[in-house]
Point group: C2
Chain length 403, copies 2
């Protein structure tokens, strides 16, 4: 007789990542994938890591390999506070919690702030991984009307109190958003924070891509405008390497102790070897020279994709050229469902992520996300040409509704 496990109710809310399922299909040899959000491995500073790993394991093996503080490695917490300070945020090291990637930051914040049935607000579209992180807490996820500049401040008051149940926070990714690539203007940031303060709505600000600007840095963070009402998430994944799983949360002091307890319960602490390794790499200003090389590289990739899109996409497709980050967001002619398009594209040898995956409630079916950082520029040209061909085929076969 097979034993029957009884699962927690929240298990119904856990689902495989659509992106990861797509990636499985698209990792077949020969597929040019614009789907994954993988940083270019050419940017990983392997040699600096190797030298630093050697140094850490020679000089402090007993500390680097032992259990450590749940808060994180003190010099790394100090580095983060100082780094953010240079960007206009007043952060004390005591507010910094080192996490196992910023995905864990999302998870811990969800656990600390969301009850079953409580409301959480997100942008449209929004980062899929955040929806996954929040889901096990069984919240009701509500969308805030958003435009090319991010969430619309005027929509915040109503969204906060909709249905009589106050939303617990707004999850927002202001810089080169995943998936839309958009970056909030300074005016929008000011208006959004004003609206959030007026509505008594805390903010969960996610900033994995902020350092990846091409021409000008983004405006100051939301946290710099409203420190006590904002939890800020940062990451080393996009400026160093994601495989080390190293991120951080900056939390108001009212929240920090409980966040720390959630962290202890989750994995005791983030691998201290990784923390010391990264600190050794960055302590003398490595990122000051390294990050500009990533920016220059990704700007070229962005240019290659912009050129290819203009060359190969049929009329009726729209996008805004991103000013940083890793993604183009395409709006296709309204009769095209990108989810139905995907198998045809994969057959032709190119993959993307259908936009529907990034909407909490009301998917916009004629959208899709393209990463411009994983493939080389000449591969991008080829991949976009394939995508353009598939789109033209589909449009030729789609009956045009005459008015």
């Amino acid at each position: 007789m097979t034993f029957a496990w009884q699962l927690a109710r929240r298990a119904d809310r856990m689902n495989p990542s659509i992106i990861r399922e797509i990636l499985k299909v698209t990792e077949r040899p020969g597929i040019l994938s614009l789907a994954g959000g993988l940083p270019s491995p050419d940017t990983f500073p392997a040699e600096a890591m190797r030298v630093a790993a050697d140094k850490v394991l020679r000089e402090a093996p007993r500390e680097a390999l032992q259990y450590a503080a749940s808060e994180g490695y003190a010099p790394l917490r100090e580095w983060v506070a100082e780094h953010l300070g240079r960007q206009g945020m007043a952060v004390s090291p005591g507010q910094v919690l080192i996490t196992t990637g910023s995905q864990q930051g999302l998870d811990l914040c969800g656990r600390l702030l969301l009850d079953a049935g409580s409301r959480v607000l997100v942008e449209t579209p929004t980062y899929l991984g955040a929806l996954q992180a929040f889901a096990p807490n069984e919240p009701q996820v509500d969308e805030v009307a958003s435009d090319d500049d991010g969430p619309v401040p005027e929509a915040l008051a109503e969204a906060t109190t909709r249905g009589g149940d106050r939303a617990r926070f707004l999850y927002v990714l202001p810089n080169f958003q995943n998936p839309s690539g958009r970056c909030m203007s300074e005016a929008r940031r000011a208006a959004l924070v004003d609206a959030a303060q007026a509505a008594g709505l805390p903010l969960l600000e996610d900033n994995p891509y902020g350092d990846l600007w091409f021409d000008t840095p983004p405006a100051p963070t939301l946290a710099s405008r409203w420190a006590e009402g904002t939890v800020y998430l940062g990451s080393f994944s996009k400026v160093l390497a994601p495989g080390l799983r190293l991120g951080y949360v900056v939390a108001p002091s009212a929240l920090y102790p409980k966040l720390l307890q959630a962290k202890q319960a989750a994995d005791l602490h983030t691998p201290v070897f990784n923390q010391r390794l990264v600190h050794e790499v960055i302590r003398e200003g490595f990122l000051d020279t390294h990050v500009p090389t990533i920016r220059a590289r990704y700007a070229k990739h962005r240019d290659a994709m912009e050129t290819a899109l203009r060359r190969h996409l049929p009329s009726g497709c729209h996008w805004t050229s991103p000013q940083g980050g890793m993604f183009f967001w395409l709006t296709l002619p309204s009769e095209i469902d990108s989810l139905a398009l995907l198998p045809l594209a994969v057959e032709a040898g190119v993959a993307f992520v259908p936009g529907a995956a990034f909407y909490a409630r009301t998917p916009q079916a004629n959208t899709l996300r393209l990463s411009f950082v994983t493939l080389a520029p000449e591969q991008i040209e080829r991949a976009v040409a394939l995508l353009g061909g598939v789109l033209k085929d589909v449009l030729a076969r789609t009956p045009v509704l005459t008015p």
Copy 2:
């Protein structure tokens, strides 16, 4: 005006680790601490790690530093399956989920199996970290009567159905338990699994210390007797190094997909650099020669503590010499509360963990845990002498109740 955060209800159940709070006090210079459960850093294979880190970062930097599969690094999953196979468990690599320490395994299992108010069974005493991992799910934690051989099988049926609400699982640590040091006999394992199967009660088997036996290996795991009803947790923390945060879950195939989704939501994946590093260290049989050196070292420490306890502790104190693992569990004369004893001990220069921390419901106040692996044997002698002195002082001042 200070912004007021609304926390999730589960935040009330999150509390600072008593052990970590004690450790803060006892990490003052000059305190001989028998409190922490820290492996001896003399056992960390720093040189092998250094060589392996160098190799991984030279030969596979792009893979070691990139995002990776949530399941874990395939060759490491295969190693785990093969390693457990040699211990009599039939495990396929597809059942192995690599976790960020086995604390994360506890967390994921709690999230997947526990609803608010649902019942979970634990031993008396039990591992404090497991109680912390389960707490955010707001379960009702019930104790199963236990003796020197672990949970009493005859108590299982009633405990499973107590109050009409079926317990979701029994959390059990059969090998050299933290905190009691006890190791379940083969007969007890057989009887416990029979009782669990009869009661339809799944098992969560935690085995961080099973390789640390001194004279004879422990009997086969519970999972080897009842694979489909048992989730098994393993760890590299005690045989290699805890600072890498590397553990694993072996789950029945009925449970694996949801466990994987919970893992994705929690931190995407465990640092793949750490996984490749450890696999590189252990792939050619390193543990076959390394683990025996840890056993020999810890056996000497155990002997030193046994000798010191016999020499310095007043009559009325009881313990069983552990046959493996890291801990002695002391039962003091019944009039002594070890929590009240701790400040006196710290004042004298020695620290321990009061036993009350390890009970889910009904603390036994006259117990305490001593780690024998962190201090050197001569420090153990000195520390136990100090503890004995404090105990004798307290007993001399405690009025003896005459019958």
